[in-house]
Amino acid sequence: MRITAPFVAAMLALSLGSAAAAAPLRSADGLPDWTGVWQNKGPPTDTDLFDGGTAEPRGCAALSQPCRSHPPYRPDWEARYQKNLGLARANVLPDPLTRCMPRGTPGNMRSPDTIEFVPRPERTWIFIENGSQARRIYTDGRSHRTGQDAFDNWTGDSIGHWEGDTLVVETVGVKGEMMIDRSGAILSSKARVSERIRRRDANTMEDVFTIEDPVALTGPWTVTRLYRKVRGPIYDYACAENPRNKIDASGRTLTLDTQGRVIDAR
């Protein structure tokens, strides 16, 4: 290995501590190639999003999407999750996405449709077609927001740094009580979401989440998401164009065919 001056400088900075603040801005030429359009690897349709019995994504192993583990909830949050699971099984759990609301971090990384990862030295953008939603990960050495700038929002406050070709992201300041998937998993506003984002191979992006939440969870919860490369382009998203599905007397959202006729079993 050739020892370069920047390398020595970086090691020196690391040894002096406060690595994130001291890390030099990565050069543009040194950024990994994440070009193209990607799609969450997972069950293809909403109705198959999770297995009603286990709350794990159905068919995840067959699709080489790692099955996520059950969130290590504290008892009161487990009870709330079980209630949401019951609603989801009965198809009466409203997903914010269906009301043109954002899903927020980390649930936005489990959105339908396609996704882009756009790195530049000072920021990396993650554009999510569904919504549309946009995440901004600041890699210019800044710290998390403080004072009146530090209010909770959907995408949260994401700071990142590069470790080789892996983007390491720390997100705080997310809104609590947001559904993060179709099974109805929720976190508190104290959740801290760490991500390691890298290109695993030519056709796969990987995002390994470690979610810590002193209010809702008893310990860290690790979830891996994979994204396959798909043919672009990525398109605009006009949420209000979606047909308004009817809701029956029990609160169940009905499925319509292309002519607008209800096709659910009575």
Partner: protein, 230 residues
């Protein structure tokens, strides 16, 4: 001699055109990083509308006076589209990379993708109308020239209710002028206009360390609906 010079000139032109089409490397790209907001300038000239389109603009403006939600963008979930997104309030980002530029606007999470990798517009059925259209860009030195086609006809050109047809074509030249970014916009619409409509948008950079916030239009609408229902 003259013939030989002309041949040389033609060859030079071909080489220049070929190098312009070549995707640029990082070193050749301008630094447009940071957070930009529209600088309020003088009012745009009146669009050169044909009579029936001037009437449509008048009807839209009247409807807006009665109710802001006459604006399709104000009802949430429908994008502002191009070229209106150039004028939106909130932060604009021009994300420049070799092969592609993203113009991202905080308002509405609007994203326009401008391909600078030498591709051409799709043809036939592949070119269907969308809100932000099909955007092909090229670099003329440090100037980004964007050609936009494939636009829907049901968006507005601005917040004043000015309509356009689905035959609109937009040429936008974006460049750094001093501390500002400037977009010179020429909007051609053979259906609605009698000639090109030229407008200018300028952007100033916010202080370093600024943030772009996320945008949830439905939340604002829900609050407004609740207030209206009181």
């Amino acid at each position: 001699m003259r013939a030989r010079f002309l041949a040389f000139a033609a060859l030079t032109a071909v080489v220049a055109a070929a190098s312009a089409a070549r995707a640029q490397g990082w070193a050749e790209l301008p630094d447009w990083s940071g957070d930009w907001v529209v600088v309020q300038g003088e009012a745009d000239p009146a669009p050169p509308y044909r009579a029936e389109w001037a009437e449509k603009a008048r009807v839209n403006a009247e409807a807006l006076k009665k109710n802001r939600t006459a604006d399709p963008f104000a009802t949430c979930g429908l994008p502002a589209g191009a070229p209106r997104m150039l004028s939106l309030p909130g932060v604009h980002e021009w994300i420049v990379r070799p092969g592609e530029v993203w113009h991202a606007v905080e308002d509405g999470n609007t994203v326009q993708r401008i391909y600078t990798d030498g591709r051409k517009h799709p043809e036939g059925d592949d070119l269907f109308a969308t809100y932000t259209g099909d955007n092909v860009g090229r670099w003329e030195g440090q100037v980004l020239v964007i050609d936009t086609v494939g636009l829907r006809g049901d968006t507005w050109l601005d917040g004043a209710g000015r309509p356009h047809s689905d035959r609109t074509q937009v040429t936008t030249r974006v460049r750094r002028v001093g501390a500002e970014l400037e977009a010179d916009v020429e909007i051609d619409d053979p259906v609605a206009f009698t000639g090109p409509w030229k407008i200018v948008r300028r952007y100033r950079r916010l202080p370093a360390g600024s943030f772009v916030h996320d945008f949830a239009c439905r939340v604002i609408r829900t609050a407004a609906d609740a207030k209206a229902a009181e």
